[in-house]
Structure formats: structure tokens, C-alpha cells
Amino acid sequence: MKSRAAFRKSLAAAVLLGALPGLTHGAMGHTSINVGLFPSDVGSAQAFSAFGDQASAVLYNPASLTRGAEGELSAGLFYVEPSLEVSSDGGENAPERDGSVLDDESSEQVLIGMKTDLSKLVKMDHPVYFGFVAAVEDFGEDLMAFESRTADEGQFFQYGRQPLFLTLGAGTNVWRGVDAGLAAQITLHSDATMRTNATLGGETSREQIEVSAEPVLAPILGVNVALGETFCDTDPCQWGWMDHLDIALVYRGFSKSKTDVDANAVVPGTVPEPGLPLAIRTIDTFEPEIISLSGDYHWGDWRFGAGLEYQIWSRLEDELGRDDVKEPASELEFKDTLVPRLGVEYAFRDDITLRSGIAWQPTPLNPDEDIVRDGDGNATADSRSTNEQINYLDSDRFVLGLGATMDIADPPIIAHPIRLDFGYQYHYLRDTDYLLTGVNENGDRYAEEVTAGGDAHTVTGSISLKF
């Protein structure tokens, strides 16, 4: 039965992928976790994201929507250009690689976000902040950047173009110094069904196609605690440091983009009703469950942030097991990762804030490799990796962020204050060895030992209108 599934899968893959012109490179993990969303997130390596006062808080910690009383409408541009390098150590039937950069496909997203106090709309005094944020790839022209494929040459597990990103949620103060928020990240699960008669030459007749996309919500829950306000009954707090320290606990559910294709082709003279089933189910842009604990210590013009994220990637193992494209790598294991983040912010002037952050993002990729070497020490095609045919590449990353915010209290023309943000982030990917295996398009098994590494640069900027 396995062979049958493989047959269906490959046929379906051929139909699906062949039907999508201009392949784009998708990846696991959204840039919002790998890099950041708004310039302030990018510039601080997300060390302050759980305490952001902009619309991006809806993603990182909806409880923080309560921060900053004004409503805010933000728009921005996000550009990340990786330079993901692979060097080959050879192997049987390995490709010749000339040059070092396997993947430098950029992601160019347009961002839009808004937050506002909904209590103004109703007869309620208790402020409830609503926010949403959306990111659209290719400067707004590509709503559905989705790719799932096998890659003989290897493919980077993260980075790449992103499907439509949409998150909305609300936050409010629930007790003294305690804010809570709830949000939903919306991803699209697409279904396509096709019924057709076809000749072996591909000429179709009696076609019937249905395509639908269902939004699926992934929950985000966050709690902020301003320690001084919460735990002190004096103001200022008897333990002065408490007044300067906020902590946040956030839970993000996992999400993914998914596409199901279910096609049946009746080939008169070859395959009668119900026809040749071409069924494929695949995912992209898996985002793990994340539990994060963050602290924000602000003191004078300075502000320090620290966070620890527990990213549960192991769930992806189940997802790959159900994925028809990635079925060859269904045995691939992922480890859960712990991501530390540190940041600092300095109010250079009243209207200018500078920030920086660092983070360490270990790779969740944990393939099991069995390398068989020939007499010359090269990997032979008998080598096996659980990364088979999919050949994900990833590396532990060191992240450095730099950013600045400029508040313009009285801008020309516009009646409301404006905030300008800029962020830059640099990723350094530590060299990591992988074994690439599979069967190439000639039908030959191959094995190649490679070292993956590289770096990535992210530049982002936004403008926010406070109201």
C-alpha cells in the first residue's frame, strides 16, 4: 500500500506543482518568529516584543495591546535577504556546486497594523484594546506564497517567502498591574478538488474544479504583570525595583498553512470510473507552539529586556508523517528549542529611542544520518538520512538587532503624532553538516555531505499614526 500511496503522491505532486507557475520558496517558521514583525521587534531581536506597545503586540503578546493609550495605525515594509550557503563535501551522484549561495531569495512584505481602544465604541469605561496586524508578501502582490517540495540539492528549513499573515486580538487590564490578551493567528487551509476526463496526452474534458480556502485560527494568550503595581500596595513600591520590572507569559498555538488537492482523472481506455486518484496533502510555514517568559526592566532612559522562548518543534514530526510531499522524510525528528533573547533600549532624546538586541536560535532540525563511505571516504548512495529527499538545511543562529524610533509629536499636515521606526537584523548561521540523500530525477540514489551556513540581513521600517 505504501507504493500505491507513493504513486498517488507523486502523481498528485506533479499535477499540483505543475499547475503552479513560478515556484516560490516557502519554508517552515514564519519570519515573525525567526526575525520579527515590526521594526521595533526586528531591532531588538524580539527581546522587547512581549512588551511592545504597537499593533505587533497582537502577535507577541496581546496583553501588551493595553500599553500606550492611543490608537495607532501602522504601515511598514519588511525586507529580508538571506544568503544561505551550502558547500559540498562530495558524495555519490552529488551535484557539482559552483558558488556558495544556494538560496538568497528575499522576502518582501508589506505590513499593516492597527490597534485601538474599543471601549470608545461602547458605553464602557474599562479600556479594551483591539489590534490586528497583517503581512503580505511581495509588497502586497502575493497573498498565497506556498511551496512544498522535495529538493535534491537541499532546501533551507527557514527563511523564504511567506503566505498571508493575519493576526487579530484584544487585550485589557484585568487586575491591578495585570493585563491579559487573547488573539488568533489566521492561516489558510486550501482545498482543491478536480474531476476530469483526460487522455494520456493530457487533453482534458468534462472538467470540474472546486477550490476553497478555510481560515483556521491559532490561539495566542498572553499575560503581563507589572510587578510593582500588582504586588505592592504602596506607590512607589516598597521594593523599588518592582516598579521597574514587568514580566510577561505568552502561549502561542501552532499554526500551519495547508493545501489539500484531491483530483480524479478518468482516462477513457485506461482508467475507468472512479478514475485515477491524484491526492496530495501538504503543509508549509509551520509555526511551532511557543511558550515564552519575558521580562522588561526600565530604568530612566534605559530599558532592558530578556526573554526565553520554548519552541515546540517536535509536533512537526506528526505533520510530516501526514504530508504526502514530505513523506520520504516522515522519520525526520525535530527537537524543541529554547531561544534566549536579550535587549536594551535607550531614549537618546525625548523623541528618539535607540535599541538593540541579541538572540540565540538553535536549529530544531535533528536528522538521523547513516553515512556509508567508499574507499576514498566519500559518502556512497547507500547512505541514508531521515532527511531523505526533503533535505532540509538549517543552522543554529546568532541574531543581532539594531533599531530606532522617532516620535514626531507635531508633524506637518497631519493632525496626529507620528512615529517612525527602523529596524535591522543580522543573522549569522553557524556551519552545520548534513547528509543529503534521495533518488534523483534520473532515478539514481545519491548521497552528498554538505555544510550549511550563511547569514541574513533584514531591514524594516514603519510609520505609525497615533490617534
Binding site: P95, R97, D152, E441
Partner: protein, 1033 residues
Amino acid sequence: MRITRRGPESILLLAALLVTGCGGDEQTLTFPGPGADVFFTFPYADQENVSTHAPVVVRVSEPVLADVDLDEALVLTRDGQTVDASVELAAESGDRTLLLRPDEPLAPNAVYRVELNDLVTEAGPVEFAEGDFGFRTRALEMGPRSLITTDDMSFTITRMIPDGDELPIMDFSSLRFEFTQPLYQEGIRYGDNVLLEDSGGELVDAEIVMQGRFMTVDPVDRLVPGESYSVTFSGGLPNRFGETLAAEYSTAFVPKKSGPTETMNVTAPPGDRKSLLTGKKVNLVPVISTVLGGEDGSPRSQQGGTLGAELAFVPNFPEVTPMRVPRGTRLEGEELEILLGGEISAGIDSGTLTVELASDAVGFLMPNRHSSRPDAPRELRMFMDLSAYTAEPEAHAGFTQDVLHLEVVGQAIVKDGVLQAEGITVVETDILGVETSHGTLGFFMEEVEDQLNPPEQVRNDDPPEVLSWMPGEEFSNRQRPGVPVIVNFTEAMNLSSFEGNVEIERGDGSTVPVDEFTMRQDGAALVINTELEYDQSYKVKFHDGITDRGGNPLAPTTLEFEMPEFGDGPVPSPMVLTAYPGYPCVTAGRDLDAGHVGQCAGGMDDDDFLPLPTMPADREIRVHFSQIMNQDSLAEGAGFRVEKVDEQGEPIETVEGDVEIRERELTFMPRKPWEEGSLYRYVLASNGDNQSSQCNPDTMICSAAGLPLLTEHLAANQDPDNAPDLDGGGADMEIYFRASEPLTSAFAHLDNVPTADVNSNSLHDPEDGNPIDDPQFGLNSIETLVADTGGAIADARIGCPVDGDDCPREKFAYLTGALNVEIGGFLDPEEAEEQAVLPLPQDVQENGGILFHIYPTIIRATNLISYAETDDPFTEADPADTGPMVMRVRYQCDARPDASEPDPDNAEPLPQCQEGENPLPEAWIVEGEEGPEVIATFNTYLDAPALEPVVRDTLLGIQATADHNAYSQGLSAAARGPVEIMEDGRIEIGGINGADIDAVLEIQAAEILSGSVTLRIPMGGMNLNFLSEAPRR
């Protein structure tokens, strides 16, 4: 990143594709190119039953480089030895198909291995994944038991197709079984000793077809998937050697569900398309044989039409996809142009050649075993049983036959949106019962583009009819006991429908019981064997219920014929008409060392020495008799034995073999081929006395009438008193021969029928017919006149007194005889000049011809009575009865060992045989004005051993027996006549003398009479008629 796939152009592009990116050079990827793969081989690895005439085909994915030494690149070996062969690239194969043709046919039952060495293509070297692979050739159709079986010691089942393992058994599968030894078809009945039963023990409705070692059980309806079935062959299942299956064989299986199935209409397009696998025109079956021509001149017919291949539900069988083509499906082809030797028109049209599936063909589309490349075609394997027949009766009767378990090995791939299948197989067919032809079929079929409106298939709506039959009303005078009745229908029939619907009724109203006749189907022919009796008439009745494979009924039909009248004349001893190998007389003076077997006993001293015959290693001893024989007396150990002998002719050991006995025929095939170079003999035992009719069937050969085998035809010492009695025997006939390598020429046996001397007593019995009253009796007669007299004989007349009315009916001698011939291929004038020993006939000098050799034998003629008047009124000659006349056909040379010039009294001496010379007389088939003709010269000794002319002197009152010279009287007759293929497929060859033939009979009675009579066979007076054997028996 840039990805390229290495190809010729990609290398060039590589540098151009370097693009710099931020932080480093953009990587350009060049994947290893596909290299070169083997895509297809024929035979495939471990294939069984490969024809001994099979080429070896290897198709690779890329063109082979021009400088590759093909003979080195593709090598066929057996036991480590390279097989001599030529290798070429098949025409129009894109230089991708290597075709190896062995110089000689492959050995049967042998394992061969195929190797690739240093084969380099445009994409690099190519080799087999396993280094090399083997295949096994099939057993032969004809020959010694060790060559026509896969195990000559044990009769068992070796294989079932599909096997239920590699090839799934489907609910629509027909089941093919292979046995180690050929089956006795007449003794096998479905439901009796072959059973296909469901789990409840109920017999499943099925048809069986059989041939040689092969049988197919073809369920009529689809089996129930998931149900358990069993096939059982009972222990009583007989083989051709009279043995039965070693043990009951039963196998159970559970068929898989094929549905929902879909029928793919595929078509065999006509045209000049060349097969990618053979380089020859597709769907063309050449029939390569000696009789009908070699590679270039052989008859061939391109098959065309549409057929529906029912595919199992492909999604359920993505790896091995089963299919079937239903029984009865037909393809039609162009008519065969039948040229004897590939050059001489046989004067007949075959009409449309139809090939019909005798059972469901099963096929499998399988993954390519050599390559996993996406462009590697899938492997196609199809097993089919075919019935072939033509529209016109002459060719139909000769060609119609079944070909079972034909395995087509091919490749299939969708090209330009259309599934195309190419295949290859070797078709071996029986040619007129005298040889097995072979032809490599490059099969090509493609999917019909518009599957919803496919071209119409060849329909099977017409009711079958009898197209021809033998003996046939008109030719029943040629029928003899032991010769089958063969009915050729217009199309292949449903074998099971004959069951209980065929009746044979004798003229006296009695019916031949069903267990006293056998039926066997071969193509569209039904072969009926039963013990036919002389003087009896028969009706073969086909009743209601007989159908073709399409279910169309045969209208009730009765075929009626009368067997010849045996007559009431004296019943003679049986004689050997032909003995192969050898000469059918007891010989004296044998010297094997010197290469001769001596002279016929009783002949004259200066008679020719008979050469030691040679026997091709794979042939059988064949002896034809003039009478119905006591079959028990022919058994080995009774009157017949075969022995290996030493160089002195002394027996060393008895040769094991298979004896087949018919009413008037004995064959002996050694279990293993004769050892080339070794000496053998076979002994036909008689009673030791040519004037005694005693016969003991336990120790000697006897006729059914209880008379001994006449082995000595001549009168020893030329004394009529020593002439054999009509019912006499003689010494044991010991025929020596030396085994030689197999021949490619075709052996044929011809009978001198019809003849007025039906009872073969060599006497013109009063009730025997004559040509004056019935021209049919002119065939195989010799009219003899008196041309002149000399000496004291004033006048003479054959048949009646000189002074009375003439008696034209009495001037004919009627022949009893047969002839074996060895037919070679066509020779152009230059080749003919080179190969022939004797001067070429004019026709051959001009246009060439087919050289065939005659195996000399003894032909007997009925007696003539000569009346003479002398010039002396006191001298009288009694009417002289020649008695049976013996004509010994002479070899072309004399095998006498020394160079001494013989000085025969009554004949011309023959040239002495030279070393290596073929001593057999040469004859030719040439293109005549109205069809092929035979030109032959018969050099014979004529003997009248019982001739005892009595003369008397009335004055002196004395009488004496005159001496005469009718001993080893040389007679040379040049004959020419037409070669005709009869409607029943037999070949009839006529021959008449184109000039007068004179023989001077000298009579000498001391002091009474001395004179001579010049006997003349006038031009056309010798009317020979030879008829080949039934095309199948």
C-alpha cells in the same frame, strides 16, 4: 541558485549562469546527468523458453558511439565460450538498439549469458546492473526426447503463468501451464484429466488449448475474486511418449479483483514503420524456412487491426498492471506470397491471413527492470496463444496451426500523448509438416487516440464452414490406412464443441465408437485419426452444436469418402517402401571402413555398391511399409531393434528411443541425439527365407495379415527359382548408418499414390483398375510397348497375343513405391553450378532452381505379360509373365571401394563416389510456365526376378526356360512434371518421361531361340505421381 541538469548544452551554459549574490556567489548546481542506462533487453534476465532462433536485443537510453566495436560490446556466451554472432545497430533505432544474431541457431535447453563490454554511448558507458544476465532456450518442437523436453526422465509441470507471485493471478486470467514433456493432446480432456474447480468442488466452465509442452486453461467466464480455486491435472494425464504425469498435480489460487476494468483500444497500424527493437518492419511475421525461403525471400504478412486490451483498475495495480485481450480477438494481415525456396511461385494465393487468439492473452505492464529513469519505458510482457489461418484453402491447410505460449517481451511508454508498445518475439511455425520455420516479430501497437470512438475490430459473425478436407471425395483413392482425416474449417473452432458432436459412420451403417477415434485441433484444422479399412466407405458427420470461438454454429455437415479397394488378389508380404536412413534391401559385402554397406543381396556381381548412409543427429529412423502391419511385431525387442555398433559393425549397445508405430509406418527417435561420427544400425527382422511365409510377430516383423517382411526382392544368382515368393520373407534387413551433424535442409516423404495396385502385390489383379477406363489409374503407371524385336523373335506384344486385337488395358505396370527427398534452398545458376555434381538442366542453367536430393529406394511394379512370335514356325514362346518387377533406384555414384572399373552386363556403370561427395541423386524444382515443376532423372536397375520365359521347339518336342537379361537392367528415365499444392495442403508432384525409353530384353534358350525384344516406354508413358504426407497427423 541555479539548477542545471547536465546535458551537452548545460556545460556550455554553466559559466554563463554564475550570478553573484549578496554575501557570496550564487550557487550554480550541475546535477549528474542521467548517464546511460539499459532500457530493454530481449531476452530478459532469466527468461525461459527462449527460441533457439532468437536474436539478442539490447536497447540503451542514448546513441551508441560510432567507434564502438559492436562485436566486442555485446557478447553472447555459453559455458564461458563466446557464441559466434554478428552484432549491428538496428535500422532506425537512433543507434540505440544493438542486435546480435547468432551465426547458428542456439542450442535447445541451454543457458546463455549476455554481456556488455565497453559499450559507450553519447552519455557515457553503459553496463548491466548485475554485470551480465542469463536466459534459457526452449526445447525443440521436433527431435530426440532430450531436445524436445526440459526433463527427459520425468513428466511433470514446471511452471504456471501467471505465477501469483511476480505476476498476479486475476479474475480474468487464463492459466498457462508448462510441462517437461510434450502432451498427448488426443488423450487430454477438460473435466476428465484437467480440472479447474471452485472452492465448492464445482468444475468451472473453461476451454483448454494445447500444443507440445504447453497447455492453457481459459475460464469462459470471469472468476470470482477472492474465491479459492484449484487446478488439478490427474495422474493419468498422458504425454506423447505413452507415459503419464509422475503424480497428480494440484495448485490452488485466489484470483484478485481486476475491476473496474477498462478496455483500451489499441491498433496495429499498417505501414513501413520500423521496429525500434528489430530494425525491421513492424508487425511483420517472416516465415523463414528452407522450403519457403530464407531471410529475404520468405513469405511474410503484416498484421493490422484494432484490438481491445482490458486493463485491470490501474490505481489498484500501479506497479504490475495486469491486462488481457479476450479470446477470439483477431488481427488480419496481407496475404502471404508463397514462393518455394523464396524464389519460385507456388502458384497459390494465401488470401487474408488471420491471426486469432486461441485463449485470453494475458499481459503485464511492469516497472523497467534496468532503469528508474522517468523516460525509461515500462516493461511489457504478454503471453498469448494464437491460431493462424488463411482464406484460400491450399495455404490454409498447409499453414493453419496453433502457436502456444508465445511470449511477447516489450516496452511501453506514452509518447505524444499516446501509449505505444513495442515488443519482440520469435514465432516458430510448422511448415507443411516437414520443417519448423521461425521469424522474429517486431510487434508495435499504439493506443487509439479517440478511445470513445475506436475503429471497429475484426468481427467474428460469419458461421464457420468446411474449407477443405482430406482425403476429400475426389482424392479418396490416395487415402491409405494410417493417414488421418483432416478437416480444415474456415476459422478456428471451439474444441470443446466437437465433444459428442462428431460421428464417424462406416458404409455398412455401423458407427466407429468414440474411443476408437481421436481428435486434435491445430489452428483451424481438426485432425481425426482412426483405423481406416480398405474397401470401406466412411461418413464423417458434424452434428449441431459445433461452433467457432465466436459462438457461430457450423451447419450440420457430412463428409463422405471411400477407401480404395484392396482387391481379391493374392495377399503379398509387406515390403519396405522407404527406409530412412538407408536402402531397403538386405546387403552383402558390407565394409563399413570402406564407406559402403555392400550390394543388394541377389543382385549381379557388378551392381553398384551402396554408400554407408549418414544420419543427421536429430532425426528419426523412418520406415514405410507397403501393407498394414502387425504393430506388436514392430515393437522394439520384437522385430525391430536399434543398436550402436563398432567400426566392424558389431553391436555394442541397444539404443534407447521412442518408437512410434502407425498402420504402415515405423519411426524411431533416439532418446538422445545420435552421436555424430558414431555408427549405428537398425534391424528389421524377417524369417530368413524369401520363399517362406512363416512369421512370428514376437521375433520378427509381420504384416497384419501375418506375412513376413519381404527383404530380398531379387533372385539370387539370377535364377528365377530363387525369386522371392509373393508371401516370402528374407534375411533380417540390417541397415547401417553413421551419425552426422544436423542438416538445415528439409526431409520429406512422398508416396506413389494413387495406384491401381492398391494391395501392392505387384500383380495386375483382374479387378485392378486401368487408365483406359479411368485416367486416375494412369497415375503411377508405366505403359510398355514393344518397339522392336530382334533375332529369332519376329514380333512381340505386351498384354495379348500378337495376332489378335490389341489390348491397351494390359500394357500398364502399376507402381508400389514411395520416395524420401531432401529439399534444399533455391540456388541461382552460379550457385547451382557450384553445388551440383551432374550437368545442370537447361532451366536451372538459365534461372536457377531448388536442388533436392532423392534417397534411392526400391519401387515395385506389377507384372506384364509378353507375347512373342518367332520367325521359326517350329519355335514357340509361351506368354512370358514378368512377375513382380523390381526397380532399384540407383545412387548418383558407386561406393565401391577400389578403383576397379565395373563391367555390368546390363547397365552403365556409375562413376565412383569421391570422398565427401553426396551420393544422392540430384533433382530440381524450377519455375515452369504454369507453376513450379520438377526435373528428375531416375537411374534404376530393373529386375524381373520371377521372369522365366519358356520356349519350346515343337519339332523336337522340347521346351526350355530361356535366359534373359532382366537383371540389373539399367534404365534411365528423365521425368518432368508439375508441383501442385492441393486444397488439403499436401503437395503432389507429377512426372512423365519426355522421351521414349527403350530397354532391350534379350532372351536366350540354347539351341531353341535367341532373340530380343525392345521394350519401349513411350514418351509420357511413365506417369509418376508423388504425394506428400498429411500436413499434420
